[in-house]
Amino acid sequence: MTNDRQKSVLVSSADHQERGASRVPAKRPSRRKFLKVASGAIAFGAVPLRGWAADAINIGALYPTTGSMAQIGVGCVAAAKLAVEMINEAGGIKSLGGAKLNLISSDVQSDTTVTRTETDRLITSNKLSAIHGCFASALTLIASEVCERAKMPIITGSSSDQLNKGRTYTFTPFARASQFAKAQLQMSKLVSEQPKVAVIFENTAFGTSTSNGLKELAPGEGVEIVMFEPYSAGFTDASPLINKVKASGANALFSVSYLNDLILIVRTVKQVGLNIAINGGSGGFVIPDFYKNVGKLAEGLQGVAHWNHDMDENAQKVNAEYKKRTGDFLFEYAGGLVAQTFMIADALERAGSAEPQKVREALSALDVSSGFAAMAPGGKVKFGPDGKNVYGRPVGVQWQNGDLASVFPKEDARAPLMKS
């Protein structure tokens, strides 16, 4: 029914000449199998349902494909499907007789309550081996709680440091919020000898944890923070905020924000005529939509990401394929989850079983430095006892010619830093 409905048509115009359509054909995940399972549960409600094909291994994917984070969620699901196809085409899980991976995705509607219900439903209605999701830290925190109690391993790119506290079933192969903060601070020194930074951040989990990292680490990095303000996401007007930034005398602006606010902030800075280097952190900054909405204003702006498509050959290959399918470059979170899917596949191989507990054991012993599973800044993934990747670190990026290039640190730079 709704499987084929095209909804995510991003249209905007940078100026009148550009008749804007850059279509993102949203591939809605196939709902039929999921429908059968879910409607069966409702109609009869008595029998716990299983995965549908004897051979396939079910991987759950929880992303916000509707609601305020829909743009990102849709891209994530597309990447998740791509990853599963890549693995299946390469022969599936050999230690399980070539078993294919089956992706079962669910929409968490950018809402915490729904996340709770959907995670639960996903786990109890299907025989899953592992889950990945949910993009926003606030949502992932809930999903990981549910998974912990259900003893289901979940692997995620969400950056909140809380995800590594007191859990054994949550794995985070990529940089943590505190690490992002450090990288951002170091990048500010690229722009100026005496960085004076104004930090503004949206006041939910994402903004608060990242910005706290900034506050703690700044003195150690020799960076002076002259302004530190949380703001209410979704404001109508960035002028008062930027006004404050101007008054603070900062020469660099760190904005930890989701997309909508970033757009306003960047445009307002231009309006004010404020000559300040903007480091947009992660979040809404590193997705194609950002460029589509602010156009040339994005050129030269720096940010940090936990994954970028120019990191290594494998990343570039996946990027090319994703671009073919969706028309946009493979953004941070989506690329990261492709790597995560391969990590799950690697764990399945070593575990020789689809049992969640065994997969969890295998994941905790993960140690890769090549292949698609190792697509990470630094090229190595190994989990410590708290689920953190001991080699995890972020990569500094910059918008160059409408694309995101890795520029920091030196060993990860794939393009020279553009001076503006």
Partner: protein, 328 residues
């Protein structure tokens, strides 16, 4: 009404038996989750209905009390190790106390402006909890410690246990509503709801009654808040003070029959079932469809049957009665 009276008690008994037996018969975790949701939102609706249904004080800010209850018990549990059962009651008391100043402010407005003021207070509370990290974890919220099976701490490993707790809450809410409905307070509430000025003219102390019912309504709503945190293991300002909760509280009562005992329950059953069906037919890809349907149902009810489903039932019953031959 002698005819009807004969059937009421047995029907109720059957219902109780079915409700108690349900988790033993239905094992699907997914279905139990739906039942729990239905019971929980019925309860929230019943709490709302006391004020909004009988006294027609249409609040769209009940999430304020939901959140206060949730946060009180969580703070007590996480910071002081106190059992959420105690926290639940404490949360209720906090909510009751909060309803006093909030009521004082909001009751100065009538009709739709009262409604707006209630929305504003819930929003204001959310903003406050977002800002004060030291008090209550700010925007990030917190999860409750994983204690596995710990009935004393209101944590269970099986859904069935949660089901019974919320069933108990609903029973409490219905009992209280029934008692009030049958008492002098019930009549005063309806009088105020019909025409506050006229009621005052005949000597009803409207401000005091409104204040009292608001306290009761707030108390019950807060209990629901505590339960909710214990069920989803997580709290943050956006979830605790969610406008959607305020909406649903009012919605189920209106659709089911505003100002009736069973109205909120029936309304919840209808809306939640519709929602579950929609999700299974359309998957969860069509965000917005659920609330669109809710909105359409609400509009239909308002335009054609403002007395809600219970109203329809009552009207049908009245018509049935009129067709009966007169009794000697």
């Amino acid at each position: 009404m002698a005819n009807a009276g004969k059937w009421k008690l047995p029907a109720l008994a059957v219902l109780v038996v079915v409700l108690i037996a349900l988790p033993q018969l239905v094992k699907s975790s997914f279905a139990l989750d739906i039942f729990i949701r239905i019971l929980l939102f019925s309860f929230i609706g019943v709490a709302w209905n006391l004020m909004g249904g009988y006294a027609k004080q249409l609040s769209l800010g009940h999430a304020a009390y939901f959140g206060l209850g949730a946060y009180t018990s969580t703070i007590m549990q996480v910071d002081f190790g106190i059992s959420p059962w105690v926290g639940m009651v404490a949360g209720g008391i906090v909510a009751m106390l909060a309803s006093l100043p909030i009521g004082w402010l909001c009751f100065r407005l009538r009709g739709p402006y009262f409604t707006i003021a209630t929305i504003a207070t819930a929003q204001a509370l959310m903003l406050i909890f977002l800002k004060f990290r030291d008090l209550a974890w700010g925007a990030e919220g917190t999860t409750i410690p994983n204690l596995g099976s710990s009935p004393l701490m209101l944590q269970f490993e099986t859904k069935a246990s949660y089901y019974y707790v919320v069933l108990g809450l609903l029973a409490l809410g219905l009992l209280i509503t029934h008692r009030i409905e049958q008492s002098w307070m019930g009549y005063y509430l309806v009088a105020i709801g019909e025409d506050e000025d006229a009621a005052e003219a005949i000597g009803v102390n409207a401000p005091r009654i409104k204040r009292d019912i608001y306290m009761i309504s707030a108390f019950l709503t807060a209990l629901a808040g505590t339960f909710y945190v214990q069920y989803i293991y997580f709290i943050d300002p956006a979830t605790a003070f969610s406008f959607n909760i305020s909406i649903e509280a009012a919605l189920v009562s209106i659709v089911g029959g505003i100002g009736t005992l069973w109205g909120p329950v029936i309304g919840t059953v209808l809306l939640e079932t519709t929602s579950a069906l929609l999700q299974s037919w359309l998957g969860s890809t069509t965000g917005g469809i659920q609330l669109t349907v809710y909105a359409l149902i609400l509009m239909a009810v308002i335009l054609w049957r403002p007395s809600g489903l219970m109203g329809m039932v009552n009207e049908a019953y009245q018509r049935y009665l009129q067709r009966q031959p007169a009794r000697a």
